[in-house]
């Protein structure tokens, strides 16, 4: 950074005494944060990329070219995790968005208790995934957990009771249920912000035109909300590729490999198998996925803004 600065200083007419003093002060105020930023964020971003071309194991490593990336295509553990993560994302994101939007629409009115409900809907989002995981494990316990007890009481046959976290068929679905339950309130708040920005005049106009509630939603609310919807979806999608806590607390990637996801693989390869070079390659695949989504967002944002 210093170099760049010097060059700019030399390239342009010399800074006046006062200007230079201010520049020095400016850098000084930046230093405490910048040093930490450099050491713990900027350097690791580059180092991680370099490491992905090595077989670093925590102590030593050599450059092995693209071997790590080539290995990804053969590694069934990685491929399973990738597919699982896609399934997780493609299921949890739409469910979260729909739930969050419904909550926001329901609360976007003068209604007795609306503020109270907002508080309650948002609350799970603040609690830790560890605590949530602990209680979920008991609630969804196949033998005598309250959920299956309820299903039993409703007349579901013993053989048909879901095994929730304990079956390869339902484990991912159970994780998704818990995640949607926990995070919907977070995105609800964002939707509420978007709804607030829609001008009341539009509703007024629609009402004068005699549109019913459903028509008003499709012709006013939904199109006016689309920039928010787009952004919330992107954000939710990005976070969905970073899912880890709930899985490590409840299923630990199992049963079998049913809930193994990308970050879980990175963690295992890096900190259990000490294959840090290989884990870095997976980490950069993750980065690439998120980068792609972000770039889509940038392009899309422009389009959306123009649309409206």
């Amino acid at each position: 950074m210093q170099k760049a600065t010097l060059r700019t200083v030399r390239g342009k007419p010399r800074l006046s005494q006062a200007r230079r003093r201010e520049a020095i002060t400016g850098y000084l105020y930046l230093v405490p944060n910048f040093v930490g930023f450099l050491v713990f964020t900027a350097i690791p971003i580059i180092a991680g990329f370099v490491m992905s071309f090595t077989d670093y194991n925590g102590f030593s490593g050599e450059f092995i070219g693209l071997s790590n990336y080539a290995k990804l295509f053969r590694d069934t553990q990685f491929k399973t995790a990738f597919v699982n993560n896609m399934v997780y994302s493609l299921a949890s994101v739409p469910l979260t968005i729909v739930a969050a939007l419904l909550f926001a629409l329901a609360l976007n009115r003068k209604m007795w208790g609306a503020n109270f409900f907002k508080t309650i809907f948002f609350f799970p989002n603040l609690t830790s995934m560890v605590a949530v995981g602990c209680v979920a494990m008991l609630l969804f316990m196949p033998s005598n957990g309250p959920v299956n007890n309820l299903l039993r009481a409703l007349g579901v046959a013993e053989a048909n009771l879901p095994q929730w976290f304990f079956s390869t068929k339902t484990a991912m679905a159970t994780v998704i249920i818990m995640v949607v339950w926990k995070q919907a309130g977070y995105y609800m708040i964002m939707f509420m912000g978007g709804l607030k920005n829609i001008s009341p005049n539009l509703y007024e106009a629609a009402r004068i035109d005699g549109a019913n509630a459903w028509k008003v939603f499709w012709n006013v609310t939904w199109p006016m909300l689309s920039p928010t919807t787009f952004m919330v979806t992107i954000l939710c999608f990005i976070y969905s590729f970073q899912v880890f806590d709930i899985i490590n607390v409840t299923t630990e990637g199992g049963p079998g490999r049913a809930t193994s996801v990308l970050v879980f693989r990175i963690y295992r390869e890096a900190f259990k198998n000490w294959k840090m070079g290989y884990a870095s390659a997976i980490a950069y695949v993750l980065f690439l996925i998120i980068l792609t989504i972000t770039l889509i967002q940038w392009r899309g944002q422009k389009n959306w803004v123009n649309d409206d």
Binding site: G26, Y29, F40, V249
Partner: protein, 286 residues
């Protein structure tokens, strides 16, 4: 779903409609689903293990037993975990407030070459997921001799780009004329920062503080990677490892979970507005 549009109409007269009753019932149902796991957790934490899975669930325990809390708070190092987490959360939050507000001040009110380019780099790194860089971070921390120390977690989290971003944003809304006037009056940069900028950024600072505190309190993966000795454990890994060791001691696990959530509830009660604002804000930015 019905009445969505009508309510926002400002001049609409108050009338109880069937639509709003349906919506209210929908909210009650969702609210119930949101609260039930916590209610069940709380109820189970006061029960003996044999009583927890009784059907139908007895929401209010027949006898309030404190044995689970005694176990968690006396026999296990929960007080230590609590103290460790609180210590980390307070130190990291304070450090973030200082380093981020200084940097935000520099980015928003001081003028020097390369400033905006540098800020753009900050912004760009915000989209790099932490998981993508945790391995090199680990190697750096290990080489600094900080593995299995609280200092590792402090250093990793004390310099957040997000914090700089959020504070810069609220400092930008302070008119430059104010800082210029102070300058003309002979007010030094440091005094401008302390007496003008900081007081006017109070809301932003409080929001950042609460969000950071909550993040650190709930952090699971960081402490899991960096902490090895039990005496250094935070509440989340303490709870997780307790659950692994005593997976059948349901009541005690629930007591631990409840204990870990209480501070979050308190914080939410105090700073609800700031938390909600913070979320809405991080959404605007995307």
């Amino acid at each position: 779903m019905h009445m969505i549009a009508y309510q926002t109409l400002p001049r609409r007269k108050k009338r109880l409609r069937p639509g709003i009753v349906l919506i209210f019932m929908f909210c009650v149902l969702v609210g119930f689903l949101m609260v039930v796991p916590f209610a069940w957790m709380l109820s189970a934490s006061f029960k003996a293990n044999t009583e927890i899975f009784e059907t139908p669930t007895r929401w209010i325990p027949a006898v309030f037993r404190t044995l689970n809390y005694e176990k968690v708070w006396r026999d296990i190092a929960f007080p230590q975990f609590f103290f460790n987490t609180a210590k980390l959360a307070v130190i990291i939050t304070l450090m973030q407030l200082v380093t981020c507000s200084l940097a935000a001040f520099s980015f928003s009110k001081l003028h020097y070459p390369g400033r905006d380019k540098l800020f753009l780099i900050y912004l760009a790194t915000m989209m790099v997921p932490w998981h993508a860089i945790m391995i090199p971070q680990f190697i750096i921390v290990k080489n600094l001799g900080l593995f299995n120390t609280h200092l590792a977690l402090i250093l990793l989290q004390a310099f957040s780009a997000f914090g700089v971003f959020i504070l810069r944003q609220s400092m930008l809304s302070i008119p430059d004329s104010l800082t210029e006037a102070a300058k003309i009056d002979g007010c030094g940069t440091l005094r401008t920062y302390l007496t003008i900028i900081i007081p006017l950024t109070k809301t932003g600072l409080i929001t950042l503080a609460i969000l950071t505190f909550n993040t650190i309190w709930n952090d699971y993966m960081g402490p899991m990677i960096y902490l090895d000795s039990e005496k250094l454990f935070t509440i989340q890994i303490g709870l997780a490892s307790f659950r692994q060791q005593f997976s059948a001691d349901y009541g005690a696990i629930m007591a631990g979970a409840v204990s870990s959530i209480v501070p979050v509830i308190l914080m939410y009660a105090i700073g609800q507005k700031n938390i909600v604002e913070g979320v809405a804000f991080s959404g605007i930015k995307g």
